[in-house]
């Protein structure tokens, strides 16, 4: 570590702390956008595929790319800075690993959407697979896009499909190059990176039991399906009846006494 005044050292660490926080925020938002993109991509080719979905995909993708470019610059400049203190470097490397993994996921999803868009063109709507989905991905796209940076939710533009495809090709190759560039410029030893988090993520909320119940209900034999719910309902009805009887009796007692 170079000889540095204490004061300057503090400034340095403060500066890099801020840089770390910035980087972390950017990477978090990239991860969120990648997750949303994946959800949207799973709808492509299904019966809910539409111009709107494609447009949402495009917007999410653009957002992801902008984020990616800014994170790339941010992290590359900091990691190439030789005067970075050790713990900061470790944190940066963690961010870097997360960023590159997210970028790889995004790249695969983009490739898949590209090739699926090839096969399932919206013109021939009979060939879209009936998968049982009913709603589109609008809410997911809204989640992806509604971040402090960008907030315009544009109406779907009827752009030419071929133009769209060539832009997509370009963007895919751009991400490709970005990945390659990153590997060239910054040498992060992946086996030296240690994660902070636990092995098992904590459950986020316990209020998702409804959809769990739906899924587990799915499992059982079709005959039993209504029965478990019926038994619950029967219990409730019985309880309600008991409460009703009790209140009537108490009212009678009050009346006749």
């Amino acid at each position: 570590m170079p000889l540095v005044n204490n004061k300057v050292g503090d400034d340095c660490t403060v500066g890099t702390d801020k840089a770390l926080a910035d980087g972390k925020a950017l990477v978090d938002s990239l991860i969120k956008v990648v997750a949303c993109y994946r959800h949207l991509a799973s709808c492509v080719g299904s019966c809910t595929d539409s111009l709107q979905l494609r447009d949402e995909l495009r917007q999410t993708r653009e957002k992801a790319q902008n984020l990616a470019v800014s994170i790339c610059q941010h992290l590359t400049s900091h990691l190439r800075d030789k005067s970075l203190p050790e713990e900061q470097r470790k944190e940066m490397e963690l961010l870097w690993v997360a960023f590159s993994s997210g970028l790889e996921l995004l790249h695969v999803d983009m490739c898949k959407v590209f090739s699926m868009g090839d096969i399932f063109s919206l013109a021939n709507s009979a060939s879209l697979v009936q998968t049982g989905l009913q709603g589109g991905g609008s809410e997911v796209a809204a989640r992806a896009l509604s971040l402090p940076d960008l907030n315009q939710a544009r109406a779907p533009e009827a752009g030419l499909e071929s133009q769209e495809r060539s832009t997509m090709e370009q963007e895919i190759s751009q991400i490709d190059h970005m990945i390659d560039d990153m590997e060239m410029k910054v040498n992060v030893l992946r086996w030296m990176v240690e994660p902070h988090g636990p092995q098992y993520a904590d459950p986020l909320s316990s209020t998702d039991s409804a959809s769990l119940a739906l899924l587990s209900v799915d499992e059982e034999q079709p005959g039993h399906q209504p029965q478990s719910q019926h038994s619950h309902m029967v219990v409730f009805v019985v309880l309600f009846a008991v409460v009703l009887v009790a209140t009537t009796l108490s009212v009678c007692v009050v009346f006749f006494s």
Binding site: C36, K112, L133, I179, V193, G197, L204, D218, E220
Partner: protein
């Protein structure tokens, strides 16, 4: 433009092409057509209904109708589609078969279709397992638990990312409407049942060995390649079909009675009756061969040489004729060709000194041109340096010695002594007894030791070299000092 794999495969291993995937996709697209495809019905769950469920019997009926096949085959085809992951069952999701009753299935979304281009990533699997764990702790099954731990060990550096991505995907899923969420969960679950099957099940996505060339890469075609191809096809040697077919017919007629599948195996086929007499009678170094074996030697010279007992007999004959050096040279060349690379140099030198050098003790008679080529090649010996000389000697033996061997008293004697075993006629009880008495055969290690002992014994009693014989016969002193008997 080809969309490359995201994960750079530096080991350059490519999954082989699964041609069935494209065909299955076509079938699936036809099946899901709302008008002409399989009849779809809504699936009624507690709070909601989800459309586009299809029943197993409808699928089978549609397939049978479309391809004009019977229902068993339609069922197999349907099960194949399920096993590949194009259709997933809604009940009993771990068994990937089509049940010919009212059990429900649904079409998989194209995002989760099996592809040949993009490998199924462990990162995605880790995210999926983490997501399931987030939803309800402890829901992972044992094998999934093990996989999760293994992935945690190997992808440790990415683990923060995986957990965060799992959380984000979970939150994004919650934004969707409930029935869509259920459908997406079913889809994802089905995808991972196909691509990470629970232990003990067979996966349809097993594709065997990986390839060294990328099947998606464009083939290099060019005019020069086309030229080379056509030139080679012109240069190929040709034979009239009457000739080649005649050769095949002759081969079949000759070997018909010797083939254990086409005719009886005397005394009895050990694989059928569990009686090993056949093998003991036909051991490589048996004293008295069977008649069938001796008959085989008469088919061609190659048969005689390839059978160790036949070769022994031939060697005996040549010893009596004092022309054993040809066979010894041929065997030495075989040894060089098939031996270890470390011993090649000494072997080549030994063979040269023994057989090829001027005034060698067992000098073989090959023509001048071959000798010249061989000697030149021996300056830088390699495995096939003696190939030309070996072929010459082989032809010599075949044209000359083989004929004489067939007429010789040695052969006639062997033929007379050869045994023709009677056919076994086992009753069922005896067959059972044989099966009980099955024993393992001699270990290959012991067999090899026996072979080596045999070789050493033969070398010790090697035939006397020609110079010694001549000196003994003519009782004249030779300028060349008598060399010790050469070892094979």
């Amino acid at each position: 433009m080809t969309i490359r794999n995201a994960i750079r495969d530096h080991g350059q291993r490519y999954r082989p092409r699964m041609a069935c995937l494209k065909k299955a996709e076509k079938v699936l697209l036809e099946m899901q057509d709302p008008k002409t495809g399989v009849k779809s019905q809504p699936q009624r769950l507690v709070i909601t209904t989800i459309p586009h469920a299809i029943s197993g019997e409808d699928i089978i009926a549609w397939l049978a109708d479309r391809f004009q096949i019977d229902s068993q085959e339609a069922r197999n085809l349907g099960s194949m589609l399920v096993a590949l992951g194009y259709i997933y069952p809604l009940q009993d999701h771990k068994r990937l078969v089509i049940k010919p009753d009212a059990s429900l299935y649904r079409f998989q979304t194209p995002y989760f279709w099996p592809t040949q281009q993009w490998p199924v990533e462990d990162t995605d699997y880790a995210i999926y397992l983490a997501k399931r764990n987030i939803r309800k702790k402890g829901i992972l099954e044992l094998h999934e638990q093990e996989q999760y731990n293994r992935l945690h060990k190997w992808m440790n550096h990415k683990w923060d990312f995986i957990v965060m991505q799992a959380k984000e995907q979970y939150r994004a899923a919650k934004e969707r409407k409930k029935p869509d969420r259920v459908v997406f969960d079913c889809q994802e679950r089905a995808y991972w049942v196909v691509h990470r099957p629970p232990p003990g099940t067979v996966s349809a996505m097993d594709y065997g060995l990986e390839r060294r060339i990328d099947p998606n890469a464009d083939e290099v075609t060019g005019e020069s390649l086309h030229m080379i191809f056509t030139q080679q096809s012109i240069m190929r040697p040709r034979v009239k079909s009457s000739v080649s077919i005649g050769a095949l017919v002759k081969y079949c007629a000759t070997y018909n009675s010797h083939d254990p599948f086409l005719s009886k195996c005397l005394p009895s086929n050990p694989w059928l009756t569990d009686d090993v007499t056949y093998w003991t009678l036909n051991m490589p170094n048996v004293e008295i061969p069977t008649k069938m074996r001796v008959e085989r030697w008469t088919f061609s010279f190659r048969e005689l040489l390839s059978d160790p007992r036949g070769r022994d007999d031939f060697r005996l004959f040549l010893k009596k004729e004092f022309s054993g050096e040809n066979l010894a040279f041929w065997e030495g060349c075989e040894d060089l060709k098939w031996g270890t690379a470390a011993t090649m140099r000494e072997k080549a030198e030994h063979i040269y000194k023994t057989f090829l050098a001027r005034g060698a003790p067992r000098w073989i008679n090959i023509d001048g041109k071959t000798m010249e080529i061989t000697v030149k090649g021996l300056k830088h010996p390699h495995r096939y340096v003696l190939e030309a000389a070996q072929t010459h000697i082989y032809m010599l033996m075949k044209k000359d010695s083989f004929g004489r061997y067939m007429k010789s008293p040695v052969f006639k004697d062997t033929l007379k002594k050869a045994i023709a075993p009677e056919e076994h006629k086992f009753t069922d009880a005896q067959l059972e007894q044989n099966a009980k008495n099955r024993r393992p055969s001699l270990s290959p290690i012991i067999l090899r030791q026996q072979e080596l002992e045999q070789k050493a014994k033969m070398a010790a009693s090697a035939p006397v070299d020609i110079t010694q014989v001549m000196s003994k016969l003519s009782k004249q002193g030779k300028e060349v000092a008598p060399r010790p008997p050469s070892k094979n």
